[in-house]
Subunit: 365 residues, 2 copies
Amino acid sequence: MNTRRDFLQKVAASALILPLPSWALSAPKYDGPVLRVALMGLGGYATRVADAMRDCKKAKLVGAISGTPDKLTNWQSKYGIPEKNCYNYQTFSNIRNNPDIDAVYITTPNSLHHSQVLQAAAAGKHVLCEKPMALNAKEGAEMVAACKKAGVKLLVGYRMHFEPKTLEVIRMRNSGEFGKILFFQGLCGFRIGDPTQWRLNRELAGGGSLMDIGIYAINGTRYMVGEEPVWVTAQETKTDKVKFKEGVDETIQFQFGFPSGAVASCLSTYSMNNLDRFFLNGEKGFAEMQPSTGYGPIKGRTNKGELTQPHATHQMVQMEEMADIILNGKQPIVPVDGEEGLKDLKIIDAIYLAVKTGKKVPLNL
Amino acid sequence: MNTRRDFLQKVAASALILPLPSWALSAPKYDGPVLRVALMGLGGYATRVADAMRDCKKAKLVGAISGTPDKLTNWQSKYGIPEKNCYNYQTFSNIRNNPDIDAVYITTPNSLHHSQVLQAAAAGKHVLCEKPMALNAKEGAEMVAACKKAGVKLLVGYRMHFEPKTLEVIRMRNSGEFGKILFFQGLCGFRIGDPTQWRLNRELAGGGSLMDIGIYAINGTRYMVGEEPVWVTAQETKTDKVKFKEGVDETIQFQFGFPSGAVASCLSTYSMNNLDRFFLNGEKGFAEMQPSTGYGPIKGRTNKGELTQPHATHQMVQMEEMADIILNGKQPIVPVDGEEGLKDLKIIDAIYLAVKTGKKVPLNL
């Protein structure tokens, strides 16, 4: 009875014949418009994005901007980027004359985002910018205004806004499956290594853990609760004043209140391993995710059971979706535009103020 | 081959022959001293304690104190309590002349603990008191002093201090298996029902959720982190001012800092279902428990795997251990004495002060 199955199993085992993935068989060939992207700042994260974009259909890596000539040479061969689409920071403004690049994705240290977004917008290119979008709300507002004036889109690298398990939790919340939302907890942190990296340099990072990893708890609070907070309190703790210098936060606890009466409790830290937990609690149900914001796979469950949405590389999905937003005017479920980035910056300003004053800071988002 | 096993299975299935529990076969007969206890305040929790004490060997329920004559009659028959060991609040002071009662366990509303502990101590009886031990640190200090002066022991109903999975986590922490402790989170709450109950009456409860369920997060923070906190901040949120009147807190978030640099983040609430989560994070490992303080079974895991210590009725174990403390001078792993209760009261005072002032309140425990 099992002859045919046995035979196929033996063939597969002996010859290592692997079936094609289902998407390769089922996905229709894409012949729509393609967003042609240049990456600015060729560090570790840019490499991750570039690798992920190999699987994109709607977005294509076509250019690179770096201050290091060797990196540009390397990227040209590694990703098939033509030399004419490569720039350094002195030649970058010439990108305005390059009709083969639609958008610039900025993955440089935080303190550079503001001026670089303004430059890219002035060159008439759409701008994708890593989070935090800037160092503070003042910078952020200027960036939003500059992109609006230039008629280009400004999008922020909120990859979780496209993550399937995250979107399922948001769908359940919106459909009332958790009932009234009461509480959110976001614990985000990792133990940071090399003390010489830019993330621990206040001039480049604009702060410490809060700018880098705490922003996941800030942004996560907003997309998980589904409301804008109206106050924040915050407490800073520093155990290592050598590694975490003046203005570089090691650990900050912060709390939010919402108009509905929901509350949130968050932790941002550079001194704890693998802290990546979300917990959303409602009157009728809950969601818990752990890991909740890492590169995945995200894992989680709700009162209805385990979240089973399949993982896809976050950066690949983000770039596909952002291409759709820019090229086709698609509306994402959770915004990823400059206004969204600006809200997080207003909260970051308020958290640092709350740490400094020890007082509850009102928010008006 | 399987005939004998099949036969035994059939016998078991058909005749419902259940084996004796292992402890019934292995436990040695106890012929040491027995703590003879009278319960004061015959409400739901007293009934739970009385039922649990049926399985105690070192502690025995022998008396009852209540303002309701019917309850006393009922308890006499239900628990085999002699009438001569029953008192109301007018006759209670006569207990001093009763040589058949060693200790009084007070499970009345919070605001009564102070005067009742003082009365029991004055009558020369050891005192067990439910938590919170009193309404504030001033009362608590008076109770500690009164019991010391009277030469009686004062113990607080910290049942988690004897819970096997909790003790295993504490053992692992003490042995360094989590490394340096960095963070604790205690989320404690439930959705409270009947708005007319004493727990929602400020005069009787002395507060709201913080006194009743938040104290598990306060005390849990201390026994999980293994240090005394040096500051606390707190934020109150109230969504229902009819149910939660002036002075009765619905939801309070509070945060601690420790000398080591560890931090803690807690939630106390009367408006969320089944919120009972502990998370302890160290440099080398973690523990998470959920439920963490309910009547059990407690469930949890650490970086080493699931916690498998067997459940036993908390109130039974507590009474056995407290009998050992009083009769035999046993030292519990985590203190349960009046000084321990007083520390939690100092924290409760500080949390209410922090809510009121919006400021970080230093702690000196």
